[in-house]
Amino acid sequence: MNAIISLCHFCEIHGPQVLFCTQPSHPQGIEGGVSGVGVVVEEQYNTMQLLLSRTQEQDGAQDLKSLVSEPSTPTPSSGNHCEGCYSVKPGFVSHDDDVKVSYVSSRQPHNREVFSMIRQACLRSLTGEVCPGTEGPIFFGNDQQGHVISYSFHIKDFQARGFQRRYSIIIVMMDKIYLLNSWPFLVKNLKIVVEHLQEKAQKVHDVEQTKSPREPNKLASFRINPKPARSLMELTEDRNIFKILHVSFVWILKACGNRITESLLEGPPTEDSIIDMEKQEETEEGFIKLFKKDDTEEDIEEEKETEKEGEEEEDEEESTSAVQNIRYLLRSLGEKKFHILAHHAVIGNQIIVRGALKPAVKAVLSALKCIVPKGCCRVVSYSQEYEASWKCNFLGLAPDVHIPNHIMATEMFVLVEVISPEVDTTVPTTISPPGLDQLRECDFSLASPTTLPDKGPAVLTKMEMALKNENLTQEVLEQYLICLKEEWMNKVKVLFKFTKAGGSRSEEDTKKLLQVVGAQEEDKQLLKFWMTGLSCHYKTHILSTTKSHH
């Protein structure tokens, strides 16, 4: 997260002061410094667990100090600091090697402009803004001075006036939307940090209180010349308090950054990309769990095949090779057979691919997937037993798997047998790139209990034309397929809206609408099937808007 967290306090002598700042620093900025600090880079990081690299009290410190003070540090005169303003010298650094970010904690940010922002935020947070109940979070700021979440609180101090001192933790960020979206997470975690500090200080305070004289007169004289201010270390009796703060702040910055990621949208999102986004669902802790929807599919896969080898890498290459594969599939099956297969695929009939060669089976499935919208694909890529069609419309099976009789009799499906040459089985899955190589050596046989009308949906015809057109390169073909799918998804949307919004629609109306969107009788089945692939987002949106109309 591109923000600065800092601890501020209201000094008895100097007024509001910034004590401690933690900010992420990208390597190019502090290249010299990182190499100077050296050894620390060795530290390994797990996803969430950040290690405090080294508390550079003495030796490594010099390097960091030179680095920190180099670009015109706004140096407050040394006399301007009392014990109450005591902070870290020079600071701490943590490196996150995964994303190449270093987190630097120091008394002040080394950039002058940033410092003035922080200083301003500190002033406002401690002397300007009033939060309800004197302790708690508050948001303020503007585009020039940055947006700030400030959490102000008291720390008990037996020697202080009023027996407490005022502190605040501020998070300064330029991105208001991001900051406000992170509010629940930030406030919750700041509260934990604050309560930790308060708890420690309370203990120290209680001990001091029992030692102090009881009578008010003596107490008064006892308090006449107390130290003007004590440092946070003294108040909490914890020498490592700043290290703890560093680790906490770094964690907050990192975790908050992981919590919400921004993605750049080039134009409005396609239906497929929305489906992808929906797969990332927020978990209770506020973190994004990737591919939630896929869980079911993956579970099944994992159950069925224990030797699950590096599928993620395959996925990467799929999109390009899939297009290649589908062309090959077209050639090897012949136009007629391919038409039948593809026709089944686009109207949602179950495609069962059976074969000994797992990569080949997968390649066939992934090839077919690219003519169907993502939302409609429910894939079980290689299973040892039959899966019902409501579970998956793309099913890969091991060669000897028997398809139950009742399925054979009733279900709408098409069975593709991948007949691989003998040689291949001896050299099993060692050839890593899936697709062409294996596919080339395979033969296919096609069988289906159901017969489809001769005329396929219009979109399929167009797809086939494109596949047959050798002048189109793979990239062009791929984009063309995406466009076709998107074009028809839009028609599906209109139809969906039409059917859901108006209540009961007569046969006449539906016919008219289909005419308007340019769909024929033969497209109906396809439209119906593709409707199931609409994103939840769109569906709920339509349903809620139509409801509000009534």
């Binding site: 007024g15 406002r124 002397t127 300007g128 006036r161 009023g162 008010p216």
Partner: protein, 363 residues
């Protein structure tokens, strides 16, 4: 009072430094009166730990002086609105000593009370005073400067005089160096442990009341015609007197009058018929002291009380005194009724006409 002729535009409250976030919405939380009536603003300034917050607490919150020892250090401006609970309308802003505020804070203020801790080394305070005065005067020449030489309870009488002389001398010298010799600073010896802080605050507030000469004159007429020795017009809530006759104020007299108000209010609270109105139009009290003097308290309006001290033999003609008092009360009410036409918005005084029904009047 000539310095009060400049009209402050009512409703221009938003001039406080924007950087500190006191925007227009701050006004919304103020009383409705704020938009139509300008409330004079008194700034409490001074170094940290000089006793600003304590003064505010003791004078306006009835906090016991001993308890002020446990006040937290002030970290933001604390505004005290003396609008709703009192006859006199003004705002007191208690500023944290550690922070230098933006210049615009002086723009709409009427008076600055600068508090100096007399028990401490005061050279720093004098430097700050000088800086504050010259800056504030530059920005707003109409500001009155009041210097409270505070915490004098710890000093002997000789010391007090010496401190006042010294501070006065140095402050004037400093101002003369800046070419501001004509600027008048008023000095007060104050302590929260006696009534001196109330008296000093009274005088500060009095300067902000444009009707003061008229009221003083009325009081003079009253006492000369009624055989009264000394008369105070008190703001009942804060116990600061907004006017007195022109004879010198004796500290003890003032204190005993303050105490009398406390007694009356307390008695009224305990034995009054209604809970809400401890002080109303029939409130009156007579206390006879064993040295042959009589204290006489009468209600002037909801917020104001007249407290008089006189010889016992003068009090024999109580009918005359009561008649004179009724004349006086009528006159005071007349004075404040002309307020809207006067064009002086600097001191807003209300004349309340809705007097509550009579309750426990004390005889």
């Amino acid at each position: 009072m000539s310095s009060y002729s400049e009209d402050k535009v009512a409703g221009s409250f938003g001039s406080f430094p924007k950087g500190f976030g006191y925007g227009p919405d701050e006004n919304d939380t103020d009383t409705q009166a704020s938009s139509s009536e300008h409330k004079p603003r008194i700034l409490l300034m001074g170094l940290r730990r000089s006793g600003k917050s304590s003064i505010q607490k003791v004078v306006f919150h009835k906090v016991s002086p001993n308890e002020t020892l446990f006040l937290e250090s002030t970290n933001k401006i604390v505004k005290e609105d003396i609008t709703n609970c009192s006859f006199v309308k003004f705002q007191v802003w208690d500023l944290p000593g550690q922070i230098d505020f933006h210049d615009s804070i002086y723009e709409e203020c009427e008076a600055i009370i600068f508090v100096i801790d007399s028990q401490d080394e005061y050279m720093d305070a004098l430097a700050k005073l000088n800086a504050t005065v010259s800056k504030a005067h530059r920005i707003n020449p109409g500001i009155k400067f009041e210097v409270f030489i505070h915490k004098v309870d710890g000093l002997s009488d000789d010391h007090k005089i010496e401190a006042q002389r010294d501070i006065h001398h140095r402050a004037s010298d400093n101002l003369a160096e800046e070419g501001l010799e004509n600027l008048h600073l008023s000095f007060y010896l104050t302590s929260i442990y006696d009534h001196s802080i109330f008296e000093a605050f009274s005088k500060v507030v009095q300067k902000l009341i444009p009707q003061l000469p008229v009221m003083e004159n009325l009081l003079n007429i009253l006492i000369s015609n009624s055989g009264i020795e000394k008369a105070f017009l008190f703001d009942v809530i804060s116990k600061i007197y907004i006017a007195t006759d022109s004879s010198p104020v004796d500290m003890q007299t003032y204190e005993i009058c303050c105490d009398m108000i406390d007694v009356v209010i307390d008695m009224s609270h305990i034995y009054g018929v209604k809970d809400d109105a401890a002080f109303d139009t029939k409130s009156a009290s007579i206390i006879k002291l064993n040295n042959g003097t009589v204290m006489y308290l009468r209600e002037v309006n909801r917020y104001l009380a007249l407290v008089c001290i006189m010889r016992e033999d003068s009090f024999e003609k109580q009918g005359v005194i009561d008649y004179n008092f009724l004349c006086f009360r009528q006159a005071i009410q007349d004075v404040f009724e002309v307020k809207p036409c006067s064009g002086h918005a600097s001191m807003a005084l209300t004349s309340s006409s809705d007097f509550p029904q009579a309750n426990g009047a004390i005889k």
